[in-house]
Symmetry: C2
Subunit: 344 residues, 2 copies
């Protein structure tokens, strides 16, 4: 950094006032005359002066920084396409609000690194996407008094906020769509059940099955990791078993891709012999054969809501700490339209 940028005292000297006055003028505080204020802001503009965030942090104790968790292990979290989209929404909201985003990389061999970074850098608040309420890190952060907002998980702790979407009603809608199309033997291929979103999806599925009563002949739920190969194997077992389902609701698009794969290798036609739905609206869902019916989460809204909740918590403004946003079912070719005659 060769360029010695002007300090607030340089600006003050040019304007013939003291540094304190410049500070007050910049921050819109009272105690500065109208013409003085104007003169100062002119000089600031023409000098291209930008207040040094570091110095401001030191004196105010606030950094205007929010940390976002970035798990280095668990690459599936970060590599999942929802992650960058969330990050973008957070970044957008942060930029508008004058905050910067610090990546909180979390590796298995440095468990204290996130907490250390939060205190070292005076991070004002933390967003934890895809980290559960049982994560010990959450406890560490709340013990510090740092505001925390979870995304995609729900916590009972009153001090932590969360933003989530309607996994349950989404699963329910998809299930109903299957039933409306005449499917009678349903399977929910869920993800790991400790994931709170999966619990909700399960609840929605079973709620609809229960309500449908005799319209459904059989309903089962299995759990697989969010992994295409594992899903293929499980689907092969299901589809070549005694009572193969005619509809599989999957808890992720990667699982659904595995199911499509299994159906193909068994010579089953999708959606004629088998209806398949996914979750997440991953970009590749439009590229599969057939294209995948799935559930889109309002990621941009989720990110924005999380950021705004965090800002409110930082400023100690009252705010709802529980936000649930609506999902949207994206109907494509892997499910048949409603009111088709049921298979004989």
């Amino acid at each position: 950094m060769k360029s010695d940028r002007p300090t607030i005292r340089d600006i003050a000297a040019m304007a013939g006032v003291s540094a304190g006055t410049v500070s007050r003028a910049m921050n819109g505080l009272p105690g500065v005359g109208a013409d003085t204020r104007r003169r100062i802001s002119e000089i600031i503009a023409e000098q291209g002066f930008r207040v040094d965030a570091t110095a401001r942090q030191l004196s105010t104790g606030r950094s205007n920084t929010l940390g976002v968790l970035f798990p280095l292990h668990a690459s599936e979290v970060v590599m999942h396409p929802i992650y960058p989209e969330l990050l973008g929404a957070l970044g957008d909201a942060a930029e508008r609000a004058g905050y910067d985003i610090l990546l909180l990389t979390m590796s298995r061999d440095q468990p204290a690194h996130v907490r250390d970074t939060v205190v070292r850098r005076r991070v004002d608040g933390v967003v934890m996407p895809a980290a559960g309420p049982r994560d010990p890190l959450l406890r560490q952060l709340t013990d510090l008094g740092a505001p925390v907002v979870l995304i995609g998980h729900r916590s009972r702790l009153p001090s932590v906020g969360w933003v989530d979407c309607t996994h349950d009603t989404a699963a329910r809608e998809v299930t109903r769509m299957m039933l409306d199309a005449g499917r009678r033997d349903l399977v929910l291929m869920n993800g790991p059940v400790h994931v709170s979103a999966c619990k909700l999806r399960s609840a929605g599925f079973w709620a609809e099955v229960t309500e449908a009563g005799p319209a459904v002949a059989s309903a089962r739920e299995v759990s697989v990791p969010f992994d295409t190969a594992a899903a293929t194997a499980e689907a092969l077992t299901l589809l070549s078993g005694d009572s193969p389902p005619d509809a599989i609701v999957c808890a992720s698009d990667t699982i659904a891709a595995g199911v499509l794969d299994a159906a193909r290798s068994l010579g089953l036609s999708v959606p004629d012999d088998l209806a398949v739905s996914g979750f997440d609206d991953s970009p590749f869902g439009a590229l599969t054969q057939p294209t995948l019916t799935t559930v889109r989460m309002p990621l941009h809204d989720i990110g924005r809501a999380a950021a705004e909740m965090l800002f409110a918590m930082i400023d100690q403004r009252p705010t709802s700490r529980r936000v649930v946003l609506p999902t949207e079912v994206v109907v494509r070719a892997s499910t048949s339209p409603a009111f088709m005659p049921p298979a004989p």
Copy 2:
């Protein structure tokens, strides 16, 4: 932040020394007795003292922060699966080296925001993934004297470093693989030609075609955006034209997905009638039907190399500013194996 954490003077008082001595002891500087040093580090450990990065920044002028560009518009850059993987590699390297990563969100309506953030936060160096040498931002940053490393682009400016991979030889290898399998009518479906990676891929393709001489009957190059729908349309035109190709080398997996789509709708068999290859090794490449032959870039190595180059530039250590890393061709089902009899 309720917890008033101890300052360096508190530690000094407990150790019965001055703050300066504690500072020297922490940073391994000379001028501290062995037993004093030991006593101080014990107290630091038992108090859980962490040096305040803000204060240190202010006095040293260095922030131990590196900025990573995050274009909010141009979501295709960020949503591309290579982005999070790069980010992870950068984060990993940064964490090891004691740096933190600040996201430099760039939006169209705030063109100066990145530069402002770099000066405001005293960012030590900037990584620009997927930003070209002609980007005005690059100029702004170098004018500031900030070290910059590009990823995936090459610049002639001596002051900026870059890390890239062998797009040219990768394209060449794929093309040769096509020829070895008996293909004779080739098309390169390239991305936007202003992208430097696309220039290199084009060069590699044509180099191989030229060298193959009479083994190739025809060779063409077309340019489409990195977009599946656009690629489908273009591929339909090509494949239903007068002299349809028997091999299409694509500059991205998304383009290749479009080609697969077009082939399917024309009733062409891949790879029997048509060989298709992609680029980037996107996760969905293993899920397409047929699975996609593609090129994998060493993203983790690229990220690490970029980070380490940047650290060296920041410390004014000598370092290579041009790094090219090797790619790897991932052979799957969309290309046929070599030495098949050429089509009659």
